[in-house]
Symmetry: C2
Subunit: 458 residues, 2 copies
Amino acid sequence: MTLDAVLNKIDSDLDPSLERLSDFLRIPSISTDPAFKADCQRAADWLVADLTSLGVEAEVRPTPGHPMVIGHVGDGAPHLMFYGHYDVQPVDPLDLWDRDPFDPAIEETALGKVIRARGACDDKGQLMTFIEACRAWKAVHGSWPCRITFIFEGEEESGSPSLVPFLKEHTDELSQPDMALICDTGLFDRDTPAITTMLRGLLGEEITITGPNKDLHSGLFGGPAINPIRVLTRIIAALHDDTGRITVPGFYDGVDELPEAVRAQWDRLGFNPDAFLGDVGLSRPAGEADRTALEMLWSRPTCEVNGIDGGYTGDGFKTVLPAKASAKISFRLVGTQDPQAIRDSFRAMVRDMLPPDCSVTFKDHGCSPASVMSTDDPKFEAARLALSDEWPREAAFIGGGGSIPIAGYFKEILGLPSMLIGFGLDDDQIHSPNEKYDVRSFHKGARSWARVLDALTR
Amino acid sequence: MTLDAVLNKIDSDLDPSLERLSDFLRIPSISTDPAFKADCQRAADWLVADLTSLGVEAEVRPTPGHPMVIGHVGDGAPHLMFYGHYDVQPVDPLDLWDRDPFDPAIEETALGKVIRARGACDDKGQLMTFIEACRAWKAVHGSWPCRITFIFEGEEESGSPSLVPFLKEHTDELSQPDMALICDTGLFDRDTPAITTMLRGLLGEEITITGPNKDLHSGLFGGPAINPIRVLTRIIAALHDDTGRITVPGFYDGVDELPEAVRAQWDRLGFNPDAFLGDVGLSRPAGEADRTALEMLWSRPTCEVNGIDGGYTGDGFKTVLPAKASAKISFRLVGTQDPQAIRDSFRAMVRDMLPPDCSVTFKDHGCSPASVMSTDDPKFEAARLALSDEWPREAAFIGGGGSIPIAGYFKEILGLPSMLIGFGLDDDQIHSPNEKYDVRSFHKGARSWARVLDALTR
């Protein structure tokens, strides 16, 4: 049976496949920081070279930001489109890393081998699981399982500003596939694979409050001069009420209660909030009162301050009364919440709270609505069974707290349904220091994709 | 008349005296940043060399931090001790400077020549007015006006941690003078000299709130995981009520209403809050409701956030839920407010507001009570008349919003009264980018000290 041959090839090819991943991880493709622009280009070039070596017609396509990688190969139904992103998160605070984030290493841990580096999981390791499955398939069969289109972007970690225009410009080419496969999500737990069918949206805002026209001495001006940090903290503190509910007017429009059937399915997953929070040093769910932790993660919206900055923040002390203060604020969105309406309402609320002599500027850091996938297409059940064959426990349809706006864009612009399968774990420390990817995730991930490709083309 | 000869010598020596100041300003003696430790030592050495050239027995005395400069010279009554500080504030944000902060230049402005550099006013330019007066006196008389002790410290901008131990260790040597002269304050306005007799105290605290044990992805953990920035902003927002009053329990103990006589004297100064605030782009006093701007500056306490930092603050956006967030907070103190009692009460209030799963650490950035000088000593009136002779308008006894804790230490530890005379202006941008000192302040400052020395030794 040729599936077994493909799986065996993946097994025997594990060491070289980890070396390939390590090469890819050495490229510091941080998309949000302009200093790494050339590295993003290098990561795109690296992917094109690897795909080309497999016979894919691949090329780098320029965008106003970091380039896209597009590849076409194979024939036969279904026509699948595989998506991943080659850009990674920034690495600060660098002093909390145990090693150079761009010098990957295989480490032994209590739970097995891991590969440690920025991007090891998110998303370089994940996207390589699909490429390695294809490499093995090609080596065994001499051909491809079906027609496959590859799309890799380099701006996922910075709000994908070029993606929508690119999809719109290339609708003829990219709307031909039947379904998109996206590898940027996780297992439900170490032994339970998952297909994510519900994802929160994301809205990013940066606000800067300006008071005096320059930094002042807090002794010479403190008292009569307004302090923008005080104004900013007052505004941020007002964004939640005492029950943890978000106070932006109209914010909860489009947030529905969970259907009983879904609630029951989630209850059966046996999610353990104590263990989930305990892993990161916490003990009590801190979101809206009277919601379960899984609701807080998958079906309730949030408002978070992702960064705040003002005045003197170096060593020692400086009695400055700063001219300005700023914060990066994001909202996770669910159901049919309208990002643009929420942005407008948030901005109006901030403007209403401004005291005399203060001004505010807003910076739009992108937005995407929540996505909810329809699982009626039999490919979902076929993939779920294929995943269940590879892992110790049966695969589940789950929600996800993170945002993968790409699924929404594929639906809206290309008319494509998406299937989200990934092998990340909660302890992968993505977006944090010491990011890693289990070698087991990488290895069984590639095997999982071989099984899914087999199931979808049988 | 020899005073005229001294004044003439100061006039004719102006250009070389500015060159000496420029040499001193080229040394980046930022005390709060450990990277500039050697430069602080260089600044101390520079002062010793200059004093030695005038015949002063001067030396660098080590401390656990940056060194002290101590000098002794002359004989006869009164025995005066002159204090200044050779350290300067940090220079960030550097991009707001129009030139290298440590490459001083004389610039022509609409209001006359200025010397522009970090420390031009605070405090290198100010302390050099006294040294230049002494230099001219020595050149004309061949001797010193009276016995003078010099003390220059290098940690004034970072809370003077070594000063109190040093004064205690050298009480025999340093308690011998009759009075201290401190040059670190300002003119009341461009034409009105001032002796500052009332100074606010200062209390510095840094608080760090920790929640999760590492930075988290705000999608994967946002909702159930507590966000330390949210906790910090909630605490800071609670430090003032809606009338601008500070809410720390017991904070106003020791804050007295201004005596009617003092209020009347301040009213006569003709302080213009619109002009004062207008200069820095503001229009309305932002302190406690129902207080005048001069009260807010001189006789009312404050609570300011001097810096706040948490999460991702670089370019772009990062959907991080940070492990911690911190703020530098200072209180300006008046009357007999007890710094230690306020520190304890502030810390208790913060601890009371902490939600589950959060911890707080506090860092003590020093404290000093307010100082109120007694003007009964006839030297005060003699100095006031001497200053009035030099400037277009009569000199006044005023309050000061800033903190010069040294006057309190001299009183407490050495039993010395202090007289605070300085020539800074509100637009000198001390602690801000583009700090400057008017050449007129420097020149008439030196002349003022010659007149004061003459008046106190006549």
